[in-house]
Symmetry: C2
Subunit: 374 residues, 2 copies
């Protein structure tokens, strides 16, 4: 069976590991590197599908754990799948639920078979296995689905990471065997291995042997220092095939996008833009800005003076601050729109820079203005 | 000085008091009768100005009391006025704040000068007078502004209503005298008088003598039975000039729109569509529907099968119920959109029916389907 996912490498950067490519999926041809906004519960918080298209989002991520618990995959399947349920015609990726079981559930018991946990909504006992996770994802119908994995905490004992990695490989094999829609959905493997370079290599090699149409790097951005994350990433990606897409899970701050791309990553997702938007924090070309702050009460400039997104074209900091203080959800919608647009457009400029072989100078310019690493 | 507000009477209904007309304002020519969505805090909850335009909203109401307390009229004025602050290019009407002082503030002391009250936000002591209210409204810059009035509670002693009415007339005179932008903004008088027909008549006659460019009927829908409201309204409107618009304040349930129009009302506003939307209740052509209810979990039909609004074209009851249960604000946005569209479009059909002289049969058809008065 041919995988419905194909990667085309268009250009490699002369000075870094950055790749300009294309991921072909059933619903979308995705220009990479790409930032994927997160729609945990079948909606990117506060935004409509039309707004996401206007922003230029090519693919969104949705969470298997959340949708399994509510509304349940049967209801989504009954609607004709997740695309129709949420009225999104472009790409969708669902994660495996593994990470959420570990980060959200109050109680969990890992066995070879899978993970027993309590629903963070109802408190009910639940069980998720590789077969279960893939079954849920087959019902949801995303373009790209993920093998069920265990994400070890940071820090973790080497022995724990090793045992977990071996189990994750066995689970990857079971995930592949259970995949009932290989013509419609591409199943990616997830490289774990904690902060141990040799275990990362081993994980990558074992997964590559299983021949997935794409590979994710999981278990990073879990509390470790950023330089360590970048080192582990740089060490890991060379063990992944050049002709398959590489996805760095749960990572998406502006600096992480640059550093990930430079280390050969093609796909990113992160809740950061919508999460900080809800607290009234926005990205600007000159760094983060907390628009809730009193200093913006009479500031009639747009959030970012060099941005031409819907929010920045039409609304002032003073208005947005007023909406946030007054607890009007339209304010969060405006900050969310801007933040998601900021990252999606930043990635568009990163793609252009790779094409022009000017990624490092673009990065230097961006950092100088944005103020990171100062 | 010529008022910037002009009313054109296009047609009167042969069988009722209904009027088909046009209200000319600085920012919009408004086809009447009209339903005005409420944007209390300079935003119609959850909706963008573009969505309101798509819905066909011609004019929105914003609340002087709320904007005075937060962000303060100076900040709005600094933005270039309320239209620019909230990015709304069509009509805006601001109320006087009188009603909110009585309904929201924890403490109030009425004197001839005005009303002392405590801010429901900060607890601070505040004072609002006719001059103060009109001053705030001049700073906000709406197309139509309202004289400062007192809205007596229901039930109320006749003597209280009489004293209040006399004060409201004196306040209307002071409001008019204080109006600093009579070329840019039209100031409407508000007819009070409780449930006492002769006091309603007296209030109307006294205000008409002051020659406002439009008249509101206030103090209805404050707890009295609907038949009483309709009777008082029917008694009152004949004392208002035919060549001026008539506005029934705070009223806008579907049946109230019919009954108000039939009694000669041209303008309506109500928080009902957005308020019930937040609780997961929507209007449909077959009556209200509580889409939060479990029975809609697998219902893939649109909210209203005979509606072609954005929400109904693209989303199912099952999806919207999921969003509401998951506390995703996009769900409230979808129900709010539909409910506001429902009332705006209903009013459009009422205008058409007046034009075709078929209002009563349209009303009978609507009630039969909607289930009101069954």
């Amino acid at each position: 069976m041919a995988s419905p996912i194909r990667y085309e490498l268009l250009k490699t950067c002369s000075h870094t590991g950055a790749r300009r490519g294309r991921v072909y999926t059933p619903h979308a041809v995705i220009e990479t590197p790409v930032f994927m906004p997160v729609g945990t519960q079948a909606t990117v918080k506060t935004l409509s599908p039309e707004e996401l298209m206007d922003i230029g989002a090519q693919i969104v991520l949705s969470n298997t754990y959340h949708l399994h618990l509510r509304p349940g995959e049967d209801i989504v399947k009954g609607a004709g799948g997740l695309h129709r349920f949420m009225n999104w015609s472009r790409g969708i990726l669902t994660d495996s639920g593994g990470f959420q079981v570990f980060s959200l559930s109050s109680m969990r018991k890992i066995s070879e078979e899978g993970v027993e946990f309590r629903s963070h909504i109802s408190g009910e006992k639940k069980f998720l296995s590789p077969e279960g996770s893939v079954g849920v994802q087959n019902a949801l119908g995303a373009d790209i689905i993920m093998a069920f994995d265990e994400c070890p905490p940071y820090p973790a004992e080497r022995q724990y990471v090793l045992d977990s990695l071996e189990r994750t490989t066995r689970w990857a094999r079971r995930s592949k065997a259970a995949h009932a829609r290989p013509d419609d959905q591409g199943l990616f493997g997830i490289v774990q291995g904690g902060m141990e370079p040799d275990l990362r290599r081993r994980a990558a090699e074992e997964l590559v042997e299983l021949d997935f149409p794409g590979y994710a790097v999981g278990g990073l951005s879990v509390g470790e220092p950023k330089p360590l994350m970048y080192d582990i990433l740089a060490y890991t990606t060379p063990f992944l095939p050049r002709d398959k897409p590489r996805y760095l899970m749960g990572v998406g701050a502006p600096d992480d996008l640059f550093e990930g791309v430079i280390r050969g990553v093609d796909m990113f997702d992160c809740v950061l833009p919508t999460r900080i938007a809800r607290n009234g924090t926005v990205f600007t070309s000159k760094g983060k800005l907390v628009v809730r702050n009193a200093q913006y009460a009479r500031d009639y400039r747009p959030l970012d003076e060099s941005c031409d997104c819907y929010t920045c074209r039409n609304y002032s900091r003073a208005y947005i601050r007023h909406l946030l203080k007054a607890e009007e959800t339209f304010g969060i919608r405006l900050t969310s729109y801007h933040n998601v647009a900021f990252l999606v457009r930043l990635m568009g400029r990163i793609r252009e820079a790779i094409e022009k072989d000017s990624l490092l100078s673009f990065k230097a310019d961006f950092y100088r203005e944005f103020g990171y690493l100062d």
